[in-house]
């Protein structure tokens, strides 16, 4: 019953989930078991790149849940991603111990450099993984709860909501740039050594992180499917289409928006936390409003309002970005902007919608052939 609801009625999603599962099985084998001389070998660089894409896809999924289904456009979702990333980064910093440049057993390098004598209170506890994991969920979740409660209660919607979320991430970026904040300022947190006792640069750890990202993405996808196919999911769609009708049907619209926003922020935080150990750095640049806008482009390109569309969008745009920036590193913003304009004008339902349209025209032409 539940599998039917979550999977079989969702062909595109099944296909995308199947591909992710396949990647999760093949990539570790091709990386670890196939010798480097073989043409089938997948380099560790490619594993990390794919792992990064998986985190982006999870972030895109989080945005699609609120934008595609509830019609809440957040232009600051990168903030939750970055907060999750910072929480993970703090754990990784504490794991360095006395192996840092300055060899201080307790203080991370940048604090020694700033002549700090003791660890700030908010850095306590981050030496334990369970505590960091809890913060990865709680910090984005609580911020989203407070922010959402204030915004939704005042019935801030549409473009105004988008603008204040943009302001939120910009404000956080400025704050995290400050050295006094105690998060490494401009340079952020980096130079990580190991995670849960495994060396962070080892191939096997890379594969582990890659698998964790893939599994997180698949589980998150199922959780989102569960939400959108439940009765609450239908209420959420109705809020998008006719908010006051929903309100006069007896639903407290604000609380639906709020819980969905919080869940989405938590997913974004988890994505950030998985991203940081793979790229090896987190700095305030992750809060940059531009990142959040790029994220919106991924979702729009893939097709908003279909959860798997967000995953398709995140992979295709980022793959395009990787290829493009190899040749013209500085010019990426132009194709990105062009892509957004084109998608908005020509493909309102994104790539996924294009496939759907193609199928439809094929089936109608078939009908014409055999009247």
């Amino acid at each position: 019953m539940l599998t039917q609801r979550l999977l079989t009625s969702d062909k595109g999603g099944m296909l995308v989930l199947g591909l992710i599962a396949l990647t999760c099985i093949l990539v570790p084998i091709l990386n670890l078991a196939v010798p480097e001389s073989s043409p089938f070998h997948v380099s560790t660089f490619a594993v990390t790149l794919l792992g990064k894409f998986l985190c982006y896809a999870l972030l895109a999924l989080a945005l699609d849940l609120i934008w595609g289904y509830a019609g809440i456009l957040s232009l600051g979702h990168g903030a939750f991603f970055a907060l999750g990333g910072y929480a993970m980064g703090m754990y990784l910093m504490r794991q360095i111990g006395d192996r840092g440049k300055y060899g201080d057993p307790l203080l991370p390098d940048f604090m020694v450099f700033l002549n700090w004598q003791e660890l700030p209170w908010y850095w306590h506890g981050f030496d334990m993984f369970w505590f960091a994991a809890l913060m990865i969920v709680l910090v984005p979740g609580i911020l989203a709860w407070v922010f959402g409660w204030l915004a939704f209660r005042s019935r801030v919607t549409g473009v105004y909501f988008a603008i204040i979320t943009q302001a939120l991430t910009y404000a956080l970026m400025l704050a995290f740039f400050r050295n006094e904040m105690g998060f490494g300022g401009n340079n952020g947190l980096t130079d990580f050594k190991d995670i849960l006792g495994f060396s962070i640069t080892a191939d096997s750890t890379r594969i582990g992180l890659f698998l964790a990202s893939g599994i997180a993405l698949m589980l998150a996808y199922l959780a989102c499917r569960y939400i959108v196919t439940s009765r609450a999911g239908k209420v959420i769609v109705s809020i998008r289409d006719a908010e006051s009708r929903t309100r006069f049907s007896g639903y407290q619209v604000e609380s639906y928006k709020l819980w969905l926003f919080v869940f989405s922020a938590v997913l974004a935080g988890i994505a950030g936390a998985l991203y940081v150990p793979q790229v090896g750095i987190i700095n305030p640049g992750e809060f940059s409003p531009l990142n959040s806008i790029e994220l919106v482009v991924w979702v729009a390109t893939g097709g908003r309002g279909t959860l798997y569309g967000a995953i398709v969008g995140a992979f295709s745009v980022n793959y395009g970005k990787t290829v493009f920036t190899t040749f013209y590193p500085e010019a990426w913003l132009f194709p990105l902007g062009l892509l957004f304009v084109l998608v908005t004008l020509v493909l309102p339902k994104g790539l996924v919608g294009l496939i759907g349209r193609f199928k439809k025209s094929k089936s109608t032409s078939k009908q014409e052939e055999q009247p």
Binding site: S230, R231, K234, V237, D241, A242, F248, G250, Y251, Q252
Partner: protein, 274 residues
């Protein structure tokens, strides 16, 4: 002073309202189910409602007419909690003060509203539209984890038949005709098991046949529910109304049967000019 006034019994205490569980029987022992008394609302100095007094009896079908700007829609906004009145009181039964409640609480409590423009959830099917409107626990965590009960499904089927959309239950609501959307919206109100139905211009833009069916539908609902219809179409009002209230400049100008009202010189003056 006011000939229409037969005030709520003020010795009855108002119920405390947190999340009003309107589950207990509504006290309508004095006749009316809805009391709107001395209500005034102004927007930037314009008095949309001016000392409005209106009493709706249980099971009554009441038509409200009036020229543009008479305050008909504002009156609905005030009853459903969308607009808070500047003055006056609005009671649901003897004990429930609607001024203190928000829209979703009033809706859950049993006052349903149909908008002027048909608003159904176009992305969902007819069945899902009714499913959403079903009375019951409407908290997020509840709707996330629970399915409908068999009883609620039966109720949906019943309403599908009442509004004549049983054949198109799986159709997308966005593909319905204008008239069908109006009926679906009335059906959604019925799913809330409301005590009072507020219906704003139900036959605007309908064909003659559709209008007739709507008239039948609304008349059949009266008795089980109190129905308040705001309408411009005089022929339609004549065909369903037993009692008509004429609003003008935010207050009641006349009240009575259609014939009485139409022969009232004040009403004639307002509608035809001097």
């Amino acid at each position: 002073m006011n000939p229409f006034k037969h005030a709520r019994n003020w010795s009855t205490k108002a119920l405390p309202v947190k999340d009003p569980n309107f589950g207990h029987p509504l006290d309508t022992s004095h006749g009316p189910i809805l009391y709107v008394e001395d209500v005034s609302v102004s927007f930037d100095g314009f008095k949309a409602l001016n000392n409005l007094n209106l009493y709706i009896d249980e099971g009554e079908l009441r038509c409200i007419i009036g020229p543009n700007g008479a305050g008909k829609t504002t009156m609905m906004d005030v009853i459903t909690g969308k607009t808070k009145p500047d003055e006056g009181s609005i009671y649901f039964g003897q004990q429930i003060n609607l001024r203190e409640l928000s829209e979703h609480q009033i809706a859950r409590g049993g006052i349903g509203r149909k908008f002027q423009k048909p608003t159904v959830f176009e992305a969902l099917s007819v069945y899902e539209n009714l499913e959403l409107a079903t009375a019951g626990n409407k908290k997020f965590w509840f709707t996330l984890t629970r399915e409908l009960t068999g009883e609620q499904r039966d109720r949906i089927d019943e309403v599908l038949h009442t509004i004549g959309l049983a054949q198109s239950r799986f159709n997308s609501a966005g593909n319905l005709s204008h008239g069908q959307k109006q009926w679906l919206e009335i059906g959604m109100l019925l799913m809330q098991s409301p005590r009072v139905l507020l219906v704003d211009e139900p036959v605007a833009g309908m064909t003659g046949e559709e209008t007739e069916r709507t008239a039948e539908l609304l008349t059949s609902l009266a008795g089980k529910h109190s129905v308040i219809v705001v309408e411009h179409d005089m022929a339609f009002v004549r065909s369903i109304a037993r009692k008509v209230t004429v609003l003008h400049q935010g207050s009641v100008l006349a009240e009575g049967s259609m014939d009485q009202v139409q022969s009232d010189p004040k009403v004639v003056e307002v509608y035809l000019g001097e």
